[in-house]
């Protein structure tokens, strides 16, 4: 038996033909009744959310009092925190200290995250770990769980945001959306450098760890549909303050740099057939604060997310 496009189309059409029509009036009344039920729990959700806010506030205050406290200005200093938050807190606390920001546990080599920054990691991996690229329901804890990841850097524009969230072994890209109505991208794991075991240490001044397309799902997309973006991201020397991306067709983009990581996104449109054909990157250059080029990569080709290893 041949299973091809035609056979599948015919089988689906036959399946559809089996649907028994429903009484529109009955359908309408049931839908409206269900709508009323949908609306009701929102008060419950609102109360639960308020309770959560209060609880988080209490926890944050306690944490502020007891441990994991350091000045708000410290996280931008370096990609490698020199001490744990606990010892930093002891060293810097004084009677006149301004209200401090609370951080989550440090991971050596990754930027320190505030609770708010770490919340974006949780938002990115709602199931607790990266998922399989073919099956968003299949968790892959072998690539680490939320506690191993930190928010690294993000590219924001008027349409939305794409975040680079990483661990010591690799990273995921996250383009959030509105749950249950429009879907966020799945957290697909990639190793730093592309190959296992994935090492955070950077050789040279710059690495393009991903050059991919991210789609941002919206509730009511315009005529162009949900926007897609070419995303370029990776690691860069700690002293770099700027990364410029140039495509072979002459387009340019300035990426956001933070603590040794960078990410940039640029809107891209599908052709008439609905395909997106990414143009190679002609040059990616890292600059220091004086505008001096620290390093550059040329003719960078497509490097999409995901990894192939024993799991596949």
């Amino acid at each position: 038996m041949t299973v091809d496009e035609r056979a599948v189309t015919e089988a689906l059409t036959r399946l559809a033909d089996r649907a028994r029509p429903v009484d529109p009036e009955l359908l309408l009344s049931r839908a409206l009744r269900r709508r009323a039920r949908l609306k009701r729990p929102r008060w419950g959700l609102a109360l639960a959310a308020a309770a959560c806010v209060v609880a988080i506030g209490v926890v944050a205050l306690r944490a502020h009092e007891q441990l994991a406290v350091s000045p708000a200005s410290s996280p931008t200093a370096s990609t490698e925190p020199t001490a744990s938050t606990k010892s930093t807190a002891r060293a810097t606390r004084s009677a006149t200290a301004p209200p401090a920001t609370v951080y989550v546990r440090d991971i050596p080599g990754l930027p320190r995250n505030t609770i708010a920054q770490f919340a974006t990691v949780e938002d990115c991996m709602p199931k607790g770990s990266p998922v399989h690229s073919m099956d968003g329901e299949r968790l892959l804890p072998q690539y680490g769980t939320i506690k191993d990841y930190r928010w690294l850097v993000e590219a924001k524009d008027k349409l939305g945001v794409t975040r680079l969230v990483g661990s010591r072994k690799g990273f995921v890209l996250c383009t959030p959306a509105i749950r249950l109505v429009s879907y966020p991208t799945d957290p697909i794991f990639s190793y730093w450098g592309g190959d296992p075991p994935g090492k955070l240490a950077l050789r040279g001044a710059l690495s393009v760890d991903v050059y991919s397309v991210e789609m941002q799902s919206e509730i009511n997309p315009g005529r162009d549909g949900d926007p897609s973006f070419l995303v370029v991201a990776g690691r860069v020397a700690p002293q770099a303050t700027g990364v410029e991306v140039e495509w072979a067709d002459g387009r340019k983009m300035t990426a956001n740099v933070r603590n040794g990581f960078y990410i940039g996104r640029s809107r891209v449109y599908a052709d008439k057939k609905g395909s997106i054909r990414p143009v190679p990157l002609s040059k990616v250059t890292a600059y220091d604060s004086g505008g001096q080029a620290l390093g550059e990569l040329k003719n960078v080709k497509w490097r999409s997310e995901g990894t192939t290893d024993a799991d596949d």
């Binding site: 038996m1 299973v3 091809d4 496009e5 056979a7 599948v8 189309t9 015919e10 089988a11 689906l12 059409t13 036959r14 399946l15 559809a16 033909d17 089996r18 649907a19 028994r20 029509p21 429903v22 529109p24 009036e25 359908l27 309408l28 049931r30 839908a31 409206l32 269900r34 709508r35 039920r37 949908l38 609306k39 690229s133 073919m134 099956d135 968003g136 329901e137 959306a177 249950l180 109505v181 429009s182 879907y183 966020p184 991208t185 799945d186 397309v213 789609m215 799902s217 509730i219 009511n220 997309p221 549909g225 949900d226 897609s228 599908a270 057939k273 609905g274 395909s275 997106i276 999409s304």
Partner: protein, 166 residues
């Protein structure tokens, strides 16, 4: 819902319910589940009726796809369900052609919801990959791979059934 909106919404449901029901059935493979899915999608649509720009049917369809994939994610999905009538037997009427058709339909019913949804969008709705990716909220590459995997799985399922009969 404002009375004016209710009138338009009622007209919309009256005129489009058959077409939407067909889609719901293809997605779920079951009459009751299809009715439930459609009701749920219409409830959500009614809730946002005023803010929907463009074609409301496209909105309902998108909600149905997302709801169906979401339901599949719930722990209840995938368990055995009580049905009114027994499923048709594969070797029902003795003709190979009919057997093949039923085998393929049963294989389609056994596909995971996400994979079936991709096939429905690509081959039943005849949408380009970019539209499928937009609706499913994933990349075009994922659509391609999901389609490939779904067809591959279908072939395996069809093969399995044939082997079982042999």
């Amino acid at each position: 819902m404002h009375p004016d909106d209710l009138g338009v919404f009622t007209a919309f449901v009256t005129t489009r319910s058959d077409s939407l029901m067909r889609l719901a059935y293809v997605l779920t493979g079951d009459q009751h589940a299809a009715e439930d899915l459609l009701q749920s999608a219409l409830a959500r649509t009614a809730d946002r009726w005023r803010s929907i720009r463009g074609d409301p049917e496209a909105y309902v369809r998108q909600v149905m796809y997302h709801e169906q994939v979401g339901r599949w994610r719930s722990p209840r999905w995938g368990r055995e369900r009580v049905v009114e009538t027994l499923p048709e037997r594969i070797a029902g009427d003795g003709t190979e052609r009919v057997d093949d058709r039923l085998t393929l339909e049963q294989a389609l019913r056994r596909l995971p919801a996400k994979k079936r949804a991709v096939l429905v969008l690509r081959y039943f709705e005849d949408l380009p990959e970019s539209d499928v990716a937009r609706i499913m909220g994933c990349s075009i590459g994922t659509v391609r791979s999901q389609t490939h995997q779904a067809v591959k799985r279908l072939r395996e399922l069809v093969g399995e059934t044939v082997n079982l009969e042999a």
